[in-house]
């Protein structure tokens, strides 16, 4: 039974997992086994839930039965509420894996003289042996101390409890409630702290009406532990702790390109986004951030890549309906299970809580692509971690798992330098696309520009984003005389130019035809002249021939006449 006296092994003492992942991570395995841990916190900080969850997890996952000694009236209430965490305590009790001792001590009980806890501890010991308990919770010891109401008795009984735990084996968890937010422990608690091998501090407070909790390990004998404060949330499954450990963001690198879902954008990005990279889409309301997100998601689903779409603005149904109007059809992918849309309207959640939910989703669904639309809702929720911290943590996770991530962020007029607008976040994302409205000639048109894209030669030209029932397309904008034209103006300008060109072309054509005509005319005239020339030459030749004949005829005639007249030669 004297397991506690065993010297710690060189690797460190044995740890008992609580089953609260983040906590086991922080402490390198859980609470010190067979020793006593203290959980200290104000009202509502989650002490009882933490303790009960450790028992439930122990019984369920590691077959380690547990005993819950409930001094506080409130802890009985939490037992009653346990069903909401999915803990069926009644069944566990029937199966002998859990025993809840209602040890509610009433201040109204009449006291006469000295008393002690010897009997109770004997009873619990018997129960513990009977069921083979490995874990035991005393919730909460301050109620007991208030009840004892005598400094000597208090100290004596705390000693007794501690000794009992040290001797009897089960790993002990003792909770202590602190009034208010004061973390300075009274002398008593200092004494209790000294006896415990592990001390955990829980806090609950409000920042800007957002409820926040955190957890800090103050002490852990014989073990290394993370000393920082870690956000803690209580949700439908109980407590969750996020171990925001300052991991080196040495991510994985992939040269594979992933389509953005818009052909022209892929071309501009020299083939698309890098696998596992992060993309930030900023823009004013209505600049089609969601549409770009959905186009990316649809393309991913077409490649049969598991995709999570986290929508804070719209419900899944709204999103599906709205996107179908621009020829982006998400419904079939939801049915086939490739696409998982998680939508939530969560004004009152803290950033950390959101982050934890997303982490959970990622580990449950193992997506290859992730969309958060918009991230700004999440980081505006409040919390101690800066917007940048949330983004870094998130992107560190997605990058490590090679999840290509698209984040949208709302930028409202005049707010562009505020941290939450996404501008700061852009420093940790790989690609930054900015959407804006360009107002001209009485209309507003959407413009897309790639502000940056790490490791990618990309077009730095502004493109016009056109949404139609045919889908999403990007078009060149008209740039001329130093101005960028879009929409109807662009159309008008292009029309005007086309018309002008058409006119010029027609004019040239006409001239060409004219010239050809003139040419033909000249040629024809030349032909005529040639013919005339030939005719004239022929006539001339004939004339010459006639002349010759005539000359001959004349000379022959004279001689004949002379002979006929026998003319004397002396005429």
């Amino acid at each position: 039974m004297n397991r506690k006296r065993i010297a710690p092994q060189p690797q460190g003492l044995e740890k008992m997992p609580t089953g609260i992942d983040g906590f086991d991570e922080i402490t390198g395995g859980g609470l010190p086994r067979n020793r006593t841990s203290l959980v200290i916190g104000g009202p509502g900080a989650g002490k009882t839930v933490f303790a009960m969850q450790t028992l439930v997890n122990g019984a369920r996952r590691w077959n380690e039965p547990g005993i819950f000694v409930a001094f506080e009236e409130n802890s009985r209430q939490i037992i009653a509420n346990a069903a909401s965490f999915g803990w069926d305590l009644e069944t566990m009790e029937k199966e002998g894996r859990l025993f809840i001792l209602d040890a509610h001590l009433s201040a109204d009980d009449i006291k006469s003289g000295m008393f002690d806890l010897v009997g109770m501890l004997a009873s619990i010991k018997a129960k513990s042996d009977e069921m083979g308990a490995k874990r035991i919770v005393f919730d909460s010891i301050d109620v007991l101390l208030t009840f004892l109401n005598d400094p000597v008795t208090e100290r004596q009984e705390i000693y007794r409890l501690h000794e009992w735990l040290a001797q009897e084996g089960p790993t002990g968890i003792i909770t202590i409630r602190l009034a208010g937010d004061n973390l300075l422990l009274s002398q008593h608690y200092g004494f209790i702290q000294f006896m415990a091998d592990c001390v955990i501090l829980l806090r609950h407070y409000l920042i800007e009406r957002v409820s926040l909790r955190d957890l800090r390990v103050v002490k852990y004998r014989g073990s290394k532990f993370e000393e920082n404060e870690f956000p803690l949330i209580i949700d439908s499954k109980g407590i969750d702790v996020t171990s925001f450990r300052s991991k080196e963001t040495k991510g994985k690198v992939s040269n594979e390109r992933v389509s953005s879902g818009i052909e022209r954008l892929d071309t501009m990005l020299n083939g698309g986004f890098f696998r596992g990279s992060s993309v930030l889409i900023t823009g004013a309301p209505g600049t089609a951030k969601s549409t770009l997100c959905a186009a990316f998601a649809e393309a991913a689903c077409r490649r049969a890549e598991k995709t999570i779409y986290i929508s804070f603005d719209e419900s899944a149904d709204e999103l599906v309906r709205n996107m179908s109007s621009v020829n982006i059809h998400l419904a079939p992918h939801i049915e086939s299970g490739v696409l998982y849309i998680y939508s939530e309207n969560t004004e009152s959640r803290s950033s950390e809580e959101h982050l934890m939910r997303i982490k959970k989703l990622i580990s449950e669904q193992e997506p290859r692509c992730l969309v958060i639309d918009p991230l700004s809702v999440m980081i505006r929720a409040g919390g101690r971690i800066s917007a940048l911290g949330v983004a870094k943590e998130l992107l560190g996770l997605t990058n490590a798992n090679l999840i290509t991530t698209v984040l949208s962020s709302l930028v409202e007029g005049g707010e562009s330098m505020v941290e939450t607008s996404g501008i700061a976040i852009s420093t940790v994302t790989d690609t930054w696309l900015d959407l804006s409205f360009v107002a001209q000639g009485g209309e507003r048109n959407r413009a897309l520009s790639i502000i940056k894209s790490r490791g990618t030669r990309h077009s730095n030209q502004v493109r016009e984003l056109i949404l139609s029932d045919q889908g999403v397309t990007l078009t060149d904008v008209y740039t001329a005389r130093g101005e960028v034209l879009m929409g109807s103006l662009r159309w008008a300008r292009i029309r005007a130019e086309a018309l002008e060109k058409e006119l010029t072309r027609a004019e040239i054509e006409r001239k060409r035809i004219d010239l050809e005509l003139a040419d033909a005319e000249t040629l024809a005239r030349m032909e005529t002249l040639k013919r005339q020339l030939e005719a004239q030459r022929a006539e001339l030749a004939l004339l010459i021939a006639q002349q010759k004949v005539q000359e001959e005829a004349w000379s022959v005639g004279q001689k004949d006449l002379g002979e006929m007249r026998d003319a004397d030669k002396e005429f």
């Binding site: 001792l101 009449i110 002690d116 010897v118 009997g119 009977e130």
Partner: protein, 108 residues
């Protein structure tokens, strides 16, 4: 543990005058020994032979107390006459005990 009175039986006594006590103790710890002595002294002074004390040693019957909702030792429970009364401690505050048991006025 020798207690001069009868060991109490769980069946309710027919004698309306008889007071039935259960006294939960933890072996021979000082508080427990003190409680037994104090109870006997009070009973002898105020109730003569009209009482029964059953001493429950939680070290001997540890699981019994769990079902009966007793936590600290010593704990005195008066089962009859009704109403049931519960007093915690070694009963050294005699006036408090007499007050709770309604015995103040009739010292004999």
């Amino acid at each position: 543990m020798s207690v001069p009175s009868q060991k109490g039986s769980r069946s309710p006594t027919r004698d309306r005058q008889t007071t039935l006590f259960w006294l939960y103790v933890a072996g021979k710890t000082p508080n427990s020994v003190q409680a037994i002595a104090n109870l006997q002294s009070i009973c002898q002074e105020y109730l003569r032979d009209r009482y029964k004390i059953e001493v429950v040693d939680m070290l001997q019957e540890p699981l019994r107390a769990l079902s009966e909702g007793v936590l600290v030792t010593p704990t005195l429970v008066r089962l009859s006459p009704l109403p049931v009364r519960k007093i915690l401690g070694d009963l050294s505050d005699r006036n408090a005990v007499l007050h709770v048991l309604g015995l103040e006025e009739s010292p004999e």
